[in-house]
Symmetry: D2
Subunit: 367 residues, 4 copies
Amino acid sequence: MSMNSFGHLFRVTTWGESHGPALGATVDGCPPGVPVTPEMIQHWLDKRKPGQNKFTTQRREADEVKILSGVFEGVTTGTPVQLMIENTDQRSKDYGDIKDKFRPGHADITYFQKYGIRDYRGGGRSSARETASRVAAGGLAREAIMAMAPGVQITGYMVQMGPHQIDRTAFDWDQIEQNPFWVPDARAASDWATYLDGLRKSGSSVGAIIEVVARGVPAGIGAPVYGKLDTDLSAAMMSINAVKGVEIGEGMSAAMLTGEANADEIYMGNDGQPRYSSNHAGGILGGISTGQDIVVRFAVKPTSSILTTRKTITKNGEETEIITKGRHDPCVGIRAVPVGEAMMACVILDHLLLHRGQVGENRGIIG
Amino acid sequence: MSMNSFGHLFRVTTWGESHGPALGATVDGCPPGVPVTPEMIQHWLDKRKPGQNKFTTQRREADEVKILSGVFEGVTTGTPVQLMIENTDQRSKDYGDIKDKFRPGHADITYFQKYGIRDYRGGGRSSARETASRVAAGGLAREAIMAMAPGVQITGYMVQMGPHQIDRTAFDWDQIEQNPFWVPDARAASDWATYLDGLRKSGSSVGAIIEVVARGVPAGIGAPVYGKLDTDLSAAMMSINAVKGVEIGEGMSAAMLTGEANADEIYMGNDGQPRYSSNHAGGILGGISTGQDIVVRFAVKPTSSILTTRKTITKNGEETEIITKGRHDPCVGIRAVPVGEAMMACVILDHLLLHRGQVGENRGIIG
Amino acid sequence: MSMNSFGHLFRVTTWGESHGPALGATVDGCPPGVPVTPEMIQHWLDKRKPGQNKFTTQRREADEVKILSGVFEGVTTGTPVQLMIENTDQRSKDYGDIKDKFRPGHADITYFQKYGIRDYRGGGRSSARETASRVAAGGLAREAIMAMAPGVQITGYMVQMGPHQIDRTAFDWDQIEQNPFWVPDARAASDWATYLDGLRKSGSSVGAIIEVVARGVPAGIGAPVYGKLDTDLSAAMMSINAVKGVEIGEGMSAAMLTGEANADEIYMGNDGQPRYSSNHAGGILGGISTGQDIVVRFAVKPTSSILTTRKTITKNGEETEIITKGRHDPCVGIRAVPVGEAMMACVILDHLLLHRGQVGENRGIIG
Amino acid sequence: MSMNSFGHLFRVTTWGESHGPALGATVDGCPPGVPVTPEMIQHWLDKRKPGQNKFTTQRREADEVKILSGVFEGVTTGTPVQLMIENTDQRSKDYGDIKDKFRPGHADITYFQKYGIRDYRGGGRSSARETASRVAAGGLAREAIMAMAPGVQITGYMVQMGPHQIDRTAFDWDQIEQNPFWVPDARAASDWATYLDGLRKSGSSVGAIIEVVARGVPAGIGAPVYGKLDTDLSAAMMSINAVKGVEIGEGMSAAMLTGEANADEIYMGNDGQPRYSSNHAGGILGGISTGQDIVVRFAVKPTSSILTTRKTITKNGEETEIITKGRHDPCVGIRAVPVGEAMMACVILDHLLLHRGQVGENRGIIG
C-alpha cells in the first residue's frame, strides 16, 4: 500500500519534487507487447508543458521523458516501466524569501504540520509539477488501451473559467485543439483570453471546471462496490492538485432531478446493442460502464500563488504577510486538462484489465 | 486487493445482497482495546433503518447487528471484527415480474453486462441495503476514534432536496435530530415534508445533497498524493449508491473564485495554534487536514424505482416497458445521511492510524 | 490492506476465533458463473474436520459451512462470497485454569504483548481452527479453477512425521486417501499409526512435513519479482499455524547442488511443448510456472498443547508451570494436509486470474 | 497492487533490467526526519557490489546510488524516495549468441511463455542485478529503524556452501566481515575458498544457505494471520532470485521435534522481561515477535549460467545445446547475504510502522 500510488492492476506510483533533480512515474502491470516510444509519451507531456503561452507559468521545462525500464525493442515487456523527467529550470532562489512563511491556500502548512519538514522550494511534492508524472503514465495507458480496446477515445476540455461557462449549444470538438484553453467553443476561447489576460496582469488567478469524456468504452467495466468505475475516477480526479469537486454525468445537479427525469430510458440500437435516450448517468450505473460516453467533471481552485499581499504566519508561529513572487499560473486549470485525460486513461485501462482478469474476454450478452 | 473493500489500515470489506440470508462488514485493522458492544453499533443502524416514517421504504427490517468475532469481554482484540445483519423481510416475490427487465437508471443492466448474471431480487449487491454494512462499520470506527481522538465529532445533514436548499443563515445544529430529513433548518424540514409527501403519493422520487462535517480532527492527517484525505473521502462518498458528485469545502464553486477570494488567510489563535479567516478549503490543503472543520458534500440521484412507466429492454434484447412496484424510497438521500457519516468516520480513523504509523504521535509543531 | 487477507485478485479474508460464535472467509474476486453449492465446499471441510479418528483433536465440530452471499441460483455472481462456519462445541471452561498463563511455544504471549488482550479461550484467533476458513475458501477456489483450467489437480500428502520419512520409491497416489495421515506409502501409514499412537497416549506431540503438488498448471502463470508464484506460495504456506519452513522443488537441498545437477534440461515433447529432464525447480522458474508439476513442501512444528509440565510465566510476570489439558492433536500436521491444498488452490486461481488480467488468454507460444 | 512491490506501510517497488540504462527502488511510506545521505546507502551497496574478488561475477559496476527524491537537507521528507543506480557495464554483446536459446534452470523460458517477449540481455528483469535495488532500499530501512528502535541489529552470514556447513560451536560474529563469504567461522572461510576456487575454474557453480538474524527487535511486532512477521519474511526471502527454501527458527527440522523439545520454556529475566530457555521458534510465535533473536534461513540454488554444455531448446521449438559464456558467479549465494539483510531490514521496519499504526507506542506489558 503506497499513498503515492493509484490503480489496481495498472499501478502508477509517482515520485519527485518540483525542485529536486527529477521526478517520474513507476508504472507496473502494463500488458506486454504494447508498442511505445519516448516520442509517444512526449506527445502528451508537451501538451501539459508550462511556458507555452502567456497563460501558463513561465517556468521553462523541457519536460523530456526518459524510459528507463520495461520497454525493449520498442514494446513493453510486462515489467515495471520507469518514466523519468529531469528538472532543468529549478531556480530555488525564487522561494528563499518565503522560506519560513506558509502560503495561504497552499499545502505548505499542512505538510509541515504532518511531517515536521518545510520544503520551501516551490511546494516540493505538492507542486503541480507532480502532474507531469501522471501525464507520462497516462500516455503509456493510452497506448495500452489502443492495443486492447482500439475504439476508446479520451478527450478533456474546459467548460468553465471563473464565472464564464461554455455555450453547450455551440460545442465543437474540433475547437478544442485550436486554443490555449482547450475550450470546445470558439467564442468562449476568445472571450476567456481577454478575461484571463486581465487577471494575469493584475497578478491574480482564477478557478476552472474541466470535463473529460471517454467515448467507445465497452459496457461492463468497473466493479462494485468500492472499486466502482466512478469511485476510482472520482479519487483519480480529486487527487489532482487543487481539485475541490468531482462530478459524474449529471453530477451535483442530480439532486434536482426527479426519478422520471433522471433515469435514462433504454432501447435497442440497430446493431443489436442497448441504447439510451439520454446520459444523465454519465455512462456509469452501479459503478459499471453502460457503453455510453463516460463523462467526468472536476473543479480546480485558483492558484494560491498570487501577487496580492495576504496575511499568514511563519513556522515559528509569528503573524506576518506574504506575496508570492514565483512564476505561477493565472489559471492552473488549463494545464489540468491533459492531467485529467491522463487520469481517465489510467483508470479505464486499469478496469479493462480488472474485468479481463475476473471475467475474461466475454461479457453478458444482451439479446 | 478487493473491490469490495476500502480503507488502508482500517480496512472494511462489505458482503451480502439485499435478498440473501444476511449481509455484513468484515473489518480488519481496528485498534485493540476499544470498548464496543452490539448496542453501540445498533444505535447507528437504527438511524439508517428503513420504515421509520412514511418518507423511507416500507420494507421492515430489524437490521439487528451481531458481532461474530474480534470482540472479547467487551473490547476489540485487534483481530477482524465480523458485523453481520440477517435479512428478515426479503419478499423476493415482489420482484418476480421484472425478472427479465432492466430498470432504467439502475445497475441491473450493467451487472448483467459485466457478470452475465441477473440477480433480480431487489438489486442484489447494488441495493441500498448494502449501506447497512457501512453504517455498522462506521459505528465501530466512531468508537475507535473516540478512544484515539476524543474531540472528533462527525455530523451529517441534508442541505438540498430537489430544488429546495436550506437557508444557511438559519443553520441550527440542534434541528438535525428533530426531523425525518436530518435538516439543520426547521422551516426547510416543514416545507420539505409537504413537498416529499406529494412526490411519494405520485410514486415519484427526487435527489438530494448531503453535507457531512467532521469537527475536531487534528491537523496533519492525510497523505499525498493519491491517498490524500480528500481523495479518500471523495472515493468513500462516491462509492455510496446513487451518488453522482462529491465536493470538498468550496467544491465545484471553487471554479468561480479568484485566488484572493479562495485562499484562507492564517493567523494565530489565543491557544498558540493556527487559525483561518475562512474555510474555503473545507479543512484540507494538499490532501492533509488543517485542523479546521472537514466539510464534504455529495449529491444523491433520485431512486430509479418509480411508479411511472418507463421504456426499457429485457435481457433477451426485446424492447418493453416497466413499472417498479417494489417498496422504495421517494428520497433515498434521507437514508444516505447516516451512511455519509459512517464513511467519514471510517476514513478519519484510517488516516489517524496511517499518520500514527508513518509519523508517530508527534507532529510538526508550529510556534 | 488487511493483515487477515491474502491473494491479489482472488482475495480471501478470514475472520473468527476458536471459541466465538462463528468463523469464516470473506472471498472477493471470484469469477462469476462458477457452479458452487454448500456440498461442494463441505466436501473439503469434512476432510479437515477434527475428531474423525484418534489421531486428531477430539473436539466435535460439525464444521457446517453456510454460503451467505455471492452465490445465486447455484452459481457465483462475481460479488463477495461469505462462507460462515458456526462453532458448536466451544467448551471454554477447558481453558479456565490456564487463563493467566502463557503456553510455551504458543502465540498466547505474543498476542498479549502486541494487543494487551488475553483471549484465553483456546487460542482465539491463533487457533488451528482458523484453518477451517481457508479450507472453505480453497473449496471455492477449486471450483473456479475447474471452470478456467480443468486439467489442474491439487493433491497434498504427508512425507515425514517426526523422524520418519516416506519411501519415495514406493510412492502411490492411490494410498493417499486410504489412511488417516494422507501418506502415499502403505507401509509408512502402518508404521506411523503405531508411532503416533504411542505419542498420543503419552500426551506428547510431533511435527511433520507436508508436500502439496499441483499438476496440470499451464506454463506462464506467476509474476516477477515480489508477486512470484513461489513467493506467494511460500507466504501462503508459512501463514498456516505452526509452519516453520517452506520449500519449492529441491528446497533447502538446492544448496548442495552444482549448477550442472540443478538445471533441468529442456527438450521438445511429442505434443510440440517443452519438456524437462527433471524437476529440481519444482515447476517454477523466475517466479513463473514452467508447466511441470508445482511442488511445495512445508514443515509443521509439533502442537504446543502437551500434557507434560512446562515452565512458564503468568501475564502478571510470575514464574509458574503449566499442563495443557484441552483436547489437542498429537500431530497437527495431519489436518494441515487439506489446509495446504486449499492454500495451493487459492494461489493458483489467483495467478490464473492475474495472468489473464495482464496478458489475456494468449501466452508466448514456443515453436 | 503491484507485483513488483513489497511491504505494507514501508512500500518498496523495484524497477529496471540488468542491461537497461538504470534500475532502482521507489520507496514510499518512509517516516519523515530520518537522516540519510547517498553515502549511507552506498555503504550497503558496496557490500553487494560484484567484481570485488574472484568469487563473484567480473562484471564491473560502480553501483553508485542517486537519491532523486524524498530527501531534503539531509533528512527524509515522508514522501517517496527514489533510489536510482545507473548501469555502466552493460556489454550486451556477450549474450548475442544465446539470443534465441533458453538457459536451463533460468527464467528465460518462463518469461517468454508468460509475456511473449525475449529480453536476452543478461536476464533482463530476472537478473540478480535487480537485487541492488533491494539493497539500496534496505539501507534506507536501516536508517529508519535506527531512528525508531535503535537497539535493532541485522546481520547475515553464510552457513552452508554446497555440502559444507559451518561449525556452530566455532561461531564468531567478528569473522563475518573478515572473509569473502561472510562466514562466521574462520576455518570454513579458508576451506570454502579452496573449494570454490576449484568450482570457479571448472566453470561450475554451487548453492548455499544464508542465515539472517535480527537482534533487539521488540516483542509484539507482526500481525496475524496472513501478514505474520514470518509470512512476510518468508515471502521477502523467497522473492530473492534463486531462493528455493525458507526457514524460521528450527525450520524444516521442526518436523522432527516433539512438543516437549520444541516449546521454548519461559521465565522472567532480571530486567522484569520474559526470557526463554531456547529459541526453536526463531523469535516468532503466532506471527508476532517474542523479543528473542529473529532467525531466518534461505537456500540459494546454484547459478544456472555455467560453462558446461546443456541440452535446451530455442524459442522456435528446436532442440539445441547451450554454453553460457557471460560473466557469472560461481556461488551467487555470496552476494545474497547483503540482499537477505536488506529484506530483513525492510520487513522489520514495515512491521514496526504497522504496529505503531494499529496499536500505538504502547504494548501489552507483562508483570
